[in-house]
């Protein structure tokens, strides 16, 4: 299949950046989106051009490194899928595809489609430690956890920190990410001692990074490759309100 790509090119943080059109010929429908970009880049290198920079690592949908806005949707229109797991068979032959980086002030563009997501790391750091005894692994049944809590905590813990929620949010809010990280600990007994301090510190850090506020539009959960539910944001709000009292 042949495709027309409109890609955001920006040589560095200080460059203004622009959309550049490329033709991708003989693309196999079995390729992943990133493999398609690899092929385009090989051709660019052969022609002496600068290849399109994009983040990627595991290419198995679990590391959270890859991510770009494809045709106006973070990670593309395929639901619950990271960019690396998106395959070209979901596109029509001859299609025009717009590719842009995550757009948010706290995620400055480093180059082309690569953004700096250190703000997420600082939110995690603000969460601090969890009081658990170190040493050998405890017996699995030493601390009982309700099945429902374990399931909900695990759902929240599947967040890979890719940043699609921020990219999709019309407010540029990081609420879904922060809420997922807060929820996966606040539902477990191990997370209780620091529960409220952690929620307060992480939300305050999120605001300090310059992310927008949540207006419950639901754009984040719709594009989340792990389908993190809005319930996590309600949990974050509960904890934050309790901590602010």
């Amino acid at each position: 299949m042949d495709l027309t790509l409109k890609v955001w090119r920006q040589s560095g943080p200080d460059d203004a950046g622009r959309m550049v059109t490329y033709l991708a010929k003989d693309v196999s429908p079995d390729m992943s989106f990133l493999e398609m970009l690899d092929v385009v880049n090989e051709k660019l290198i052969l022609e002496g051009d600068d290849p399109i920079a994009f983040d990627h690592d595991c290419r198995e949908g679990i590391c959270g490194m890859c991510g770009m806005v494809i045709n106006g949707v973070a990670h593309g229109e395929q639901r619950a899928t990271t960019t690396c797991q998106l395959h070209m068979r979901h596109f029509e032959d001859g299609a025009e595809i717009t590719i842009e980086p995550w757009r948010a002030a706290p995620f400055p563009v480093i180059k082309d489609l690569v953004v700096d997501r250190s703000a997420f790391d600082r939110i995690i750091q603000a969460g601090g430690f969890v009081s658990v005894p170190a040493g050998s692994a405890p017996d699995a049944h030493a601390v009982p956890v309700r099945k429902e809590d374990a399931d909900d905590a695990f759902d929240a813990a599947t967040c890979i920190g890719c940043g699609a929620c921020v990219a999709a949010c019309p407010n540029g809010s990081a609420s879904l990410f922060t809420a997922a990280k807060i929820t996966h600990l606040s539902l477990l007994p191990q997370g209780q001692p620091e529960r409220l301090i952690r929620a307060k510190a992480m939300v305050d850090q999120m605001d300090a990074e310059g992310f927008g506020g949540c207006t419950n539009t639901g754009e984040c959960t719709a594009v989340c490759p792990k389908g993190i539910p809005l319930d996590t944001i309600a949990q974050m709000n509960t904890d934050y309100l309790k901590a602010s009292r």
Partner: protein, 210 residues
């Protein structure tokens, strides 16, 4: 947004119920208006309760607008570079019109107060009984007033459809199965409110209430 919104939703519910008094006749409607002003009279001066409610409501409106403006400004700052292409993936039309819908509703309220509260732009005039202002205000000859009213009320309904469940979410009261119930409840409440508000002016325009 959630708390101030809840205050206004409470007001709207009472306002809607009060409006329905017009179906019991002009007398009943005017008596209700009088009752509001003489509530708890020996303990509070004339219009005491009403003035307190008005102050509370005014504060809620101002704080709601302040919160909305703050959120909008934060959102603009958080995304200085716009997307070339952006497609919404979330369901619900109402979420997209919260900001401008809110501004439109605020502008309508100004007209609404001038028309039916102060009677400045009402054919019955300033020194008229509330029921006269209402009935003369929605006569067929002023069909455009009714049309604007209908549009404004539908906008209010859409605003509340997102606003009500959103308030529950903001306060952290929505979890799991309850989300569906709260969303349905918000929809049902908004629908009842819209119908309750539309009934009097339409009944007046089509001559059911004279």
């Amino acid at each position: 947004m959630a708390v101030t919104g809840a205050v206004m939703v409470g007001f709207l519910a009472l306002h809607m119920l009060g409006n329905l008094k017009i179906f019991y006749g002009r007398e009943s409607f005017n008596e209700y208006a009088h009752w509001l002003r003489t509530l708890l009279q020996p303990f509070l001066p004339y219009r005491g309760v009403l003035t307190l409610l008005e102050i509370g409501l005014f504060l809620a409106v101002v704080l709601h607008m302040w919160a909305a403006i703050t959120l909008t400004r934060r959102a603009r700052k958080a995304r200085p570079v716009k997307y070339v292409a952006k497609k919404s993936q979330a369901t619900g039309y109402a979420t997209h019109i919260m900001r401008w819908g809110g501004v439109t509703i605020a502008l309508y309220i100004v007209w609404h107060l001038l028309d039916l509260t102060f009677g400045v732009v009402n054919p019955a005039g300033f020194n008229s009984a509330p029921a006269d202002r209402m009935i003369e205000g929605f006569q067929p000859g002023r069909w455009w007033v009714t049309a604007v009213y209908v549009i404004a009320i539908i906008l209010v309904g859409l605003h509340l459809r997102h606003g009500i469940w959103s308030a529950f979410q903001t306060l952290g009261w929505v979890k799991g199965e309850r989300r569906r119930i709260v969303k349905l409840g918000a929809l049902a409440f908004s629908a009842v409110l819209v119908l309750g508000f539309l009934a009097p002016p339409l009944a007046i325009m089509f001559g059911v209430v004279k």
